[in-house]
């Protein structure tokens, strides 16, 4: 999936949704959580669920935004006919849903999304440290199975060919499409603000120089556990 082949309307729509995810990340920042946010969007029902990182509040390192959003999809009150649906029926909707998340899903979340059968993922910043959709592993394609002894995982260099309706040859059950870089600068600025904020709270203040808020965006993401 590539933004090159998108109409400007389509492009704008994705950008709008990513802003919703960024708003969640912003909200996380204001509650001292790592600022990662996401939304689940259904083609008919629009935004079905939102999530933001809750690892600090819960003290549970697995409570990433993606978990919160899926939990919300299955348990919160949904409009109209969706209201009475079972967990199973609601989870089935994920097959139609796009996840917009401000930082590339980590390996854990990439697997969660794979097992729940998400349709596709749009993310902002790359996650160089823990990324599960390209950063470290390619869980979205063949569960990231290592193809060679050199540790290159499947498909890193292959271009996704699925958009012409042509079946990808090696597409496996559970594989999903991924597109990165949406709202990346904003996502990274939020992360930087978080690190400055948290460092300011640390009992032993770091050197001044390290606390300067850098709003320029480096080539790589910060590698957070999103």
């Amino acid at each position: 999936m590539s933004s090159r082949n998108m109409s400007s309307d389509e492009h704008a729509l994705h950008a709008t949704y990513m802003n919703e995810a960024l708003a969640m990340a912003s909200h996380a920042l204001s509650t001292s959580e790592t600022p990662v946010g996401c939304i689940l969007v259904h083609p008919l029902h629009s935004i079905l669920a939102r999530g933001l990182n809750a690892t600090n509040r819960t003290r549970n390192g697995t409570m990433h935004a993606e978990f919160i959003a899926i939990s919300s999809l299955l348990t919160s009150s949904l409009p109209g006919s969706l209201k009475t649906q079972t967990w199973k029926a609601r989870a089935d909707m994920l097959r139609e849903c796009t996840l917009y998340v401000t930082v590339e899903p980590c390996i854990m979340c990439a697997s969660l999304l794979r097992q729940f059968g998400i349709r596709r993922v749009f993310y902002g910043a790359s996650n160089e440290k823990f990324g599960g959709t390209g950063g470290v592993l390619d869980v979205h394609r063949g569960n990231g199975k290592m193809l060679s002894a050199l540790g290159t995982s499947s498909g890193r260099d292959e271009v996704s060919e699925g958009r012409d309706g042509e079946e990808e040859k090696e597409r496996e059950e559970g594989d999903y499409e991924v597109s990165g870089g949406w709202g990346r600068e904003e996502a990274i600025v939020l992360l930087r603000r978080f690190y400055v904020q948290e460092n300011g709270r640390a009992p032993e203040p770091r050197k001044k120089g390290e606390r300067v808020l850098r709003l320029d965006v480096a080539p790589l993401g910060e590698g957070v556990s999103s």
Binding site: R59, M108, S111, L150
Partner: protein
């Protein structure tokens, strides 16, 4: 003492320790067959000027330009080298073939640091003789066993085995830890299997279970959480199809149980799908010790799992900073822990430095004929 820690004086316990042993896991790096090599310039000099030549190199390229060559012998007598190295050198220096002149070979520098012409020029200026340079490959990293050191010495250049392991945890560290955990491992596996059985019997989940153990340095472990798989609870059962509640895998539940009891944790005020409360009988045994309320995540705890955790659970275990992981049943199609094994995913997530946290890991192998192992049936494509 408890139903969980069966001792000879407590025969009432329903949990029977499983006799077995632990096999240390392999890391992704240990699994890669290829030897990573480095191209280096070597030459041969008369023994009298050998150390002087090395001194020159040290001045020219301090600290070998950042390459760690500690696992390689710096100097080597011709008879200890692969014949090809000596032959190539001899062919270059044939103009002065003086039969019996004794020389000693030495590694000068990585070829990426300096072109051979520049290197030869610098050396010749000081040694006042021609310095034929040969380019060879040497192992980039230290050998991980004495046998490997011998093999590499025969193939590349004399290597030294220093009992270190750049590809995984230090062997002595693994051995010490194994001594600590092996004795009790059958008991904890027994607990994990009992949780698995209860989940499967009740129909709320797949037959997968885990047991989390806390251990003060060198001491006896004690169980701080037990969890079975609960993916079909709230889902309407397995008949509904689909993956079930993916967040209710046994490992995810155990992590939630531990962190729920941390003093600063704020529970969710709205309903969630996370199955982090005790549900199966074994999970709320009064004999499970409360975890340290001031702990951090699951820092340095041990997790015993009936099955190799799926990719999600494996990364959750890494995120939660467990110290040790033990499992019995390999899950080739879906497991995230193992690095090796035909047809496996190869992720080796128990020990990957790039993930910022490494632990120690073992496969539990029960005694007896594998055919008669009484394991609970799960689909081989199941995400445990």
């Amino acid at each position: 003492m408890s139903t969980l820690s069966t001792g000879p004086e407590h025969d009432a316990s329903p949990i029977i320790p499983i006799p077995g042993c632990l096999i240390p896991l392999k890391t992704t790096l240990e699994t890669r067959e290829e030897v990573k090599t480095l191209r280096v310039h070597v030459t041969a000099v008369r023994p009298q000027v050998a150390s002087g030549t090395l001194g020159l190199i040290r001045t020219l390229l301090p600290k070998d330009g950042g390459f760690d060559l500690q696992h390689l012998r710096r100097f080597a007598k011709p008879e200890t080298l692969p014949a090809s190295v000596v032959e190539e050198y001899t062919s270059l220096s044939s103009s002065r073939a003086e039969g019996g002149e004794r020389v000693i070979f030495l590694i000068l520098a990585a070829t990426s640091l300096i072109p051979s012409s520049a290197l030869a020029e610098s050396l010749e200026a000081h040694l006042e003789s021609k310095v034929p340079l040969v380019e060879i490959s040497v192992p980039l990293l230290a050998p991980t066993s004495a046998a490997q050191a011998v093999a590499w010495s025969n193939e590349y250049w004399p290597c030294v085995y220093k009992k270190s392991n750049p590809f995984g945890p230090h062997p002595s560290l693994v051995a010490r830890a194994q001594e600590e955990v092996e004795g009790g491992s059958g008991r904890w596996m027994g607990v994990a299997w009992e949780a698995a059985r209860q989940a499967a019997d009740e129909g709320v989940g797949e037959g997968v279970g885990v047991c989390v153990v806390e251990r003060k340095a060198g001491g006896e472990g004690r169980c701080v959480a037990v969890a079975g798989d609960l993916r079909w609870k709230g889902w309407g059962g397995r008949d509904q199809g689909g993956s079930g509640n993916v967040t209710a895998h046994a490992a995810m539940r155990a992590i939630g149980m531990i962190t729920n009891s941390l003093s600063q944790a704020i529970p969710s005020s709205t309903p969630t799908i996370f199955q982090t409360s005790q549900h199966l009988p074994l999970e709320s045994s009064p004999l499970i010790f409360p975890p340290d309320p001031d702990g951090y995540l699951c820092h340095d705890l041990e997790i015993y799992s009936t099955h190799e955790p799926c990719v999600m659970c494996s990364m959750a275990i890494v995120h939660s900073r467990f110290g040790r992981v033990v499992f019995e049943q390999r899950m080739r199609a879906t497991g995230g822990i193992c690095a090796d094994g035909e047809g496996g995913l190869g992720h080796g997530m128990w020990w990957r430095k790039e993930l910022n946290w490494t632990m120690l890991g073992w496969e539990f192998v029960r005694d007896g004929d594998p055919e008669t192992k009484r394991l609970i049936d799960v689909d081989e494509h199941l995400n445990a």
